[in-house]
């Protein structure tokens, strides 16, 4: 850990408004008063899922000789600030300085197997596991110290890495208490955790310490990792998903490009290894021009994508059914609408990178994968190598917002490391490959029908959802990683079905007596997987657009209409809050403010949001002026971390809503870079304002995906208010407004 400069630290301590445990340690030596210890209360709820596989204290944290703590998390840092959140909960329970807590991110054989870093689950799982492990460690340290100091536990104080007797001021450091042994005690209920009212770190806006490293170019991303003698490699991707290599002629490669070490051809995999990175780029280009491939199976015409989806879909399968929706056709007022969303890219700023080294026995891999343990299974199958012989270390990457290409780059590197042993082989993907071979967020169709009863309440709701899989994350099915699909004996990925993500939030959180959700599954034409919030983005776009249309039909204010269909006080509170935030807005003739609400997965965080737009009625051009969100994630761990995630999520979702679609023609994907696949730039960025309702007594829920789903509906509703035009097909572009 780096020591913070004094100036920052002073401010930080002042902001917290508490005595510093760091300074009281000094006080302990000079006769200054001991700190008042916060009360502990028994937690007797559920232990996080991650603890099922790792339930001892030492699986989650280690106490180092210098009195600092090393927390072991199975998660990877991808810009969400999970390291800081984990530091906060550990330092809180052990009453120590944040700086004394270091966080070791995922590494096979070292950290717990926590599956994937995704689904907004890192706080629920990783941070909460660390809380209970740290609280248990505290009890164990007090128990051991009690014996060593011959003092009852009630007369002991534990803070700043020591346990001290109130009776005679004798103290022991953690290292002295443990004498080189780690705490192997199992975490079991009830766990005495710190009274949340007395938290000094958790719930506060604790600054992330890694940003200071970032601004100095000292933060290490996977792309920045270097090893002595490391070589560079590129893979020549085929012209299409189903192309196979017919011929390759690398005769003149070494004459044309210096530094070439090896050309690798395996099945339809063509790769080149060079001394320097730019040499690999040139060699890849040379090989692309000197290979012949079979013509891939053509894609459907882009303009007929949604017709194609309906044509190839199976089902339907009823995934939710309550009451009787057959009455819907007899309703007095019925509304029916179809909503569509194209494929959307992850478009991470840092194209995928993987590094691997085979030492003759063990294959070492460095990756920004969201799930190194499951990826190890895929690599094990693909390489026919025992998973015990594969050692993977997670390294931070650029924000990827779901299952992107990290695993594919790691698989490339792993394969090449076996071909070029005892040397670190680094594979860096190009922007074009990143944009083309990404497993996109799937295209979706949502058809809704809803009926109002005589009191203008929603009586019946029917949803039909067409979706491809939202999770093709790696596991023992090697076909989940791209490289394996092009081996001499290729692995084709087995179908995954909906896995719940496709119809997520298609059943509204409103009180509706009769409801049915039917899911229709289709496969292809493009590769798909998890993109931030999965099917909820399209489903809530549909649900919350229709809610405004229903409110209009009922002759009611859209937010009042929502409120009368909600019973949950937390849901009502976020809606009231966003109304309050937008109450003083002046709205010009060409402007509109639209709203949307969601409870994520119907079980997690609550969000109500608003968007303000101006629409030029002649050109259809849209100016997104401002977005507001009121959010309740239960217990807040890091106030600024949550705010940052929501601000960023709103902006990313606005980009998806207003600009993004993966275009293709019958032979290829055409949106291969940031000019052909534009995302929001600075001139288009709206103002954002966030309000967080902190409920320390409630479970902490993740926030990463929460701002995405309501955004397109809030924008569509705002556009409708501004110009009476409703767009049902994402992205919402000027031409669609003019045609509406």
């Amino acid at each position: 850990m780096k020591v913070k400069p004094l100036r920052t630290r002073r401010k930080f301590l002042k902001d917290l408004g508490y005595i510093s445990v760091g300074f009281t340690l000094l006080g302990a030596c000079t006769g200054v008063e001991d700190p008042i210890m916060a009360a502990r209360v028994d937690y007797d709820g559920k232990l996080p899922g991650s603890m099922g596989r790792a339930n001892t204290v030492n699986a989650w944290l280690e106490i180092l000789d210098d009195g600092s703590i090393r927390v072991l998390s199975g998660k990877v840092e991808l810009g969400q600030g999970i390291r800081t959140a984990i530091q906060q909960v550990a330092a809180e329970e052990l009453d120590m300085d944040l700086e004394k807590v270091q966080v070791q991110l995922a590494e096979t054989g070292r950290t717990p197997n926590e599956g994937y870093t995704g689904a907004s689950a890192s706080i629920q799982n990783s941070a909460m596991s660390v809380r209970y492990a740290a609280a248990t460690a505290r009890q164990e340290l007090l128990g051991l110290a009690s014996k060593k100091l011959n003092t009852p536990i009630d007369d002991l104080l534990l803070y700043s890495g020591i346990v001290k007797s109130k009776l005679d001021n004798k103290s022991l450091t953690f290292a002295e208490i443990l004498e080189g042994v780690q705490i192997e005690k199992e975490v079991s209920l009830p766990v005495p955790i710190k009274n949340k009212k007395e938290h000094r770190y958790v719930g506060k806006a604790i600054p992330r310490t890694d940003i200071r490293d970032m601004v100095r170019g000292q933060a290490i991303y996977i792309q920045d990792l270097r090893f002595p003698g490391m070589v560079h490699a590129r893979v020549v991707r085929p012209p299409g998903y189903t192309s196979q290599l017919m011929s390759i002629d690398d005769t003149d490669l070494r004459n044309e490009v210096p530094g070439v070490l090896k050309t690798v051809v395996k099945g339809s995999i063509v790769a080149v290894i060079t001394e320097r990175e730019h040499q690999a780029i040139k060699a890849e280009k040379y090989l692309r021009n000197h290979t012949e491939w079979t013509t891939p199976i053509p894609f459907p015409e882009y303009s007929k994508l949604y017709a194609h989806i309906k044509e190839v879909a199976t089902g339907p399968e009823t995934v939710k059914s309550a009451g009787d929706v057959t009455a819907i056709s007899k309703e007095m007022d019925t509304l029916k609408a179809r909503y569509t969303k194209p494929y959307i890219k992850h478009a991470s700023m840092g194209p995928a990178c993987g590094i691997a080294m085979f030492d003759g026995e063990v294959l070492h891999v460095w990756s920004h994968s969201q799930g190194i343990y499951p990826m190890r299974e895929a690599l094990s199958t693909m390489l026919n190598l025992d998973s015990e012989k594969i050692h993977i270390t997670a390294v931070p990457g650029a924000g990827c917002f779901g299952h992107s290409t990290a695993d594919d780059a790691a698989a490339d590197a792993a394969l090449l490391a076996l071909e070029y042993p005892n040397t670190h082989v680094r594979v860096q993907w190009s922007r074009q490959d990143e944009h083309t071979w990404d497993p996109f967020g799937p295209a979706m169709i949502v058809e809704l029908e809803a009926g109002l009863d005589e009191n203008k309440n929603i009586n019946s709701w029917k949803a039909e959802v067409w979706t491809d899989s939202h999770s093709t994350r790696p596991n023992e099915d090697a076909g989940t990683v791209l490289t394996a699909r092009y081996l001499e004996t290729p692995y084709q990925m087995k179908s995954r079905g909906y896995l719940g993500g496709g119809h997520r939030n298609a059943d509204p959180y409103y009180s509706i007596p009769n409801m049915t959700v039917n899911a229709h599954y289709y496969y292809g034409p493009l590769r798909t997987s998890s993109l931030r919030s999965l099917g909820s983005f399209t489903n809530i776009f549909a649900v919350e657009s229709l809610m405004d249309s229903l409110a209009e039909k009922a002759g009611q204010d859209p937010m009042e209409f929502r409120l009368k269909h909600l019973e949950d006080e937390r849901a009502i509170a976020v809606i009231q809050k966003v109304k309050e935030l937008t109450a003083s807005q002046n709205i010009a003739d060409d402007q509109g403010v639209g709203y949307a609400f969601m409870r994520y997965k119907n079980t997690d965080a609550y969000i109500a949001m608003a968007a303000k737009v101006a629409v030029d009625k002649v050109t259809g051009s849209i100016e997104l002026i401002k977005m507001w969100a009121a959010v309740d994630v239960g217990e807040v761990i890091n106030m600024d971390g949550i705010t940052n995630q929501i601000e960023g999520g709103l902006i990313q979702a606005a980009s998806w809503t207003l600009k993004e679609q993966v275009s293709f023609n019958t032979t290829e994907i055409t949106g291969t870079d940031y000019l052909k696949y534009p995302i929001l730039r600075f001139s288009e960025i709206p103002e954002v304002e966030i309000a967080i309702i902190n409920r320390p007594e409630e479970d902490a829920k993740g926030v990463g995906e929460v701002p995405m789903p309501p955004t397109p509906a809030a924008i569509a509703n705002a556009i409708y208010k501004a110009c009476d035009k409703r767009v049902f097909d994402l992205p919402i572009t000027p031409d669609k407004i003019l045609r509406a």
């Binding site: 920052t8 991808l78 810009g79 969400q80 600030g81 600054p207 992330r208 890694d210 940003i211 200071r212 970032m214 601004v215 100095r216 170019g217 000292q218 933060a219 991303y221 792309q223 920045d224 270097r226 560079h232 210096p258 320097r276 990175e277 730019h278 040499q279 780029i281 040139k282 478009a347 991470s348 700023m349 840092g350 194209p351 931070p396 990457g397 650029a398 924000g399 917002f401 190009s430 922007r431 600024d640 940052n644 995630q645 601000e647 960023g648 999520g649 709103l650 902006i651 990313q652 870079d673 940031y674 000019l675 995302i679 929001l680 730039r681 600075f682 001139s683 960025i685 103002e687 954002v688």
Partner: protein
């Protein structure tokens, strides 16, 4: 293979490389500077920006043979010799203007370039100066705020 003598962060670096090697690969692959990042290789995203004679410039398509004796400053070169952060760097820390931070290099170099020529930019001028810099995390409002803060503290 030709030899180049480059002025980078105030000192001379001797590099033997091919004439078409872009500056980005000199900085990262030869000099092991991690500030400038590879984002697109197409001069579309700004992640690779450096200052060339004080002016923000994308380094990913700039062949080493065209650089001559221009003064190149990377993110690593902004800090004072006593280790004090540049006002722009400090403002990004204070405003917590990052999520993943991958684009931060370009944001900071563009901001420093802007403040070099315009010490008091308004919001529109800030947005214009950063129009070539992409951020996928959506930290733009914090970045704009950080640049306003930096301008005050310069």
């Amino acid at each position: 293979m030709p030899t180049y003598h480059l002025n980078i962060n105030g000192s001379k670096s001797k590099i033997d490389t091919e004439a078409d090697t872009p500056l980005l690969y000199i900085l990262r692959d030869y000099l092991e500077l991690n500030g400038p990042k590879f984002g697109c290789g197409l001069s579309q995203c700004g992640s690779c920006a450096v200052l060339v004679n004080g002016k923000p410039t994308n380094s990913c398509m700039l062949p080493v043979s065209t650089i001559g004796d221009a003064e190149i400053t990377t993110l690593e070169g902004l800090e004072s010799t006593e280790g004090r952060l540049h006002a722009v760097q400090q403002a990004f820390v204070n405003e917590q203007a990052a999520q993943c931070g991958y684009c931060l290099n370009g944001m900071i170099m563009s901001a420093v370039g802007l403040l070099n020529t315009n010490a008091n930019p308004d919001e529109k001028e800030i947005r214009n100066a950063l129009q070539g810099n992409l951020c996928r995390c959506g930290t733009h409002p914090r970045i704009i705020q950080a640049i306003k803060t930096a301008a005050k503290n310069l």
